[in-house]
Symmetry: C2
Subunit: 207 residues, 2 copies
């Protein structure tokens, strides 16, 4: 399947600004992007990065600086279906998790993300449109219904956890064993156990 | 499969104390417990609640007020295997998600939870012991290795999201359609969209 990987090359991961400076956020976002592209490649899918600015990576890049929803809908119009849309910050993603997305039946298959996001989609219906504004998992259900598309939902932790907030970084340390984890370890991040959920600590750094 | 459902009937969900008072936390925790018991029943499993104090619910209750790890290990010793251990705050759980836990191959199968927790386990190995202190998903991997148990991991958002912190409540509003969601709606909680993840708001309440 053709996969679109939206990426913000200009201001990536702004919600990590309390723990990573601008350059660090650029580096960490690119490490996650590389991991996502690797997983897509290993799952046998052909990725195109849909980026807000030029970015060096191991896939063709289409630059489109319009809002995410507009850029993705136009990219869907331009391509033969099926097409998947896989977010660039899914640092936990594996080929198996992607297979479960692609193998779930439905004209539109979505992977819900934390806080109502839509972390991945497989689109096989020509009239379906994305809407990433607001609670997109709700809007995508409605949009599928509006065009009579059968909706599938894939139940996956690895697709559901996107890395947006500082509290998400522990998930990378615990469940990624590739570039994104190596990047955090090199930057001095360590796991810290608590009575409740574990978090990260950065003894010598900004966080 | 026999299922153990640990439940803290005395001080449930203390990390929700910023948004729910004591009585409310008792009510909400019992609504989630009822949903988990329903899902186990629908999946054809026989649940026993392992509670720190007596609790009224739709399953047999064993009262054990010792720490969670001790109580669960003793309960495992007492029972013919396989036994599953399913946390009482998995408000997103469905019979399908439980099936994926029970159908994954392994002497020990675990469902990772946010922040390194272990939200569900299926245990088919007599020497395996649980350890819920600290980063349990790590400790359970090590404990399985130490007794030469084949480890399976189930990739499930519905098993991975436990409801512990105020930010988790949005997941109940979005992905539960049973008692726990009804409880939150009755208590005045509503979803609120943002640029990032959606959260809950409670216009007329404590939250």
């Amino acid at each position: 399947m053709q996969a679109l990987v939206p990426f913000d090359a200009r201001h990536p991961k702004s919600r990590l600004s309390d723990v990573l400076d601008d350059d660090e956020r650029q580096g960490f976002a690119r490490a996650m992007l590389a991991d996502v592209l690797d997983a897509l490649d290993q799952a046998g899918h052909s990725a195109t990065v849909l980026s807000t600015a030029p970015v060096e990576c191991d896939a063709p890049v289409v630059v489109d600086d319009r809002p995410l929803t507009t850029a993705v809908n136009d990219a869907l119009d331009d391509r033969p279906l099926p097409v998947s849309i896989v977010m660039a910050d899914l640092a936990l993603v594996t080929p198996d998790a992607l297979d479960s997305l692609f193998e779930t039946a439905g004209d539109v298959v979505l992977a819900p993300g934390l806080g109502g996001g839509t972390n991945a989609l497989a689109v096989r219906h020509h009239e379906f449109q994305v809407d990433y504004h607001g609670t997109s998992v709700h809007d995508h259900r409605e949009n599928a219904k509006a065009v009579d598309a059968d909706l599938g939902v894939v139940d996956s932790y690895r697709l559901g956890i996107d890395i947006d907030d500082p509290m998400d970084l522990i998930e990378v340390l615990l469940h990624n064993n590739r570039r994104a984890r190596a990047w955090l370890v090199d930057a001095g991040f360590r796991a810290e156990a608590h009575d409740g959920r574990a978090t990260v600590t950065r003894p010598d750094g900004k966080g």
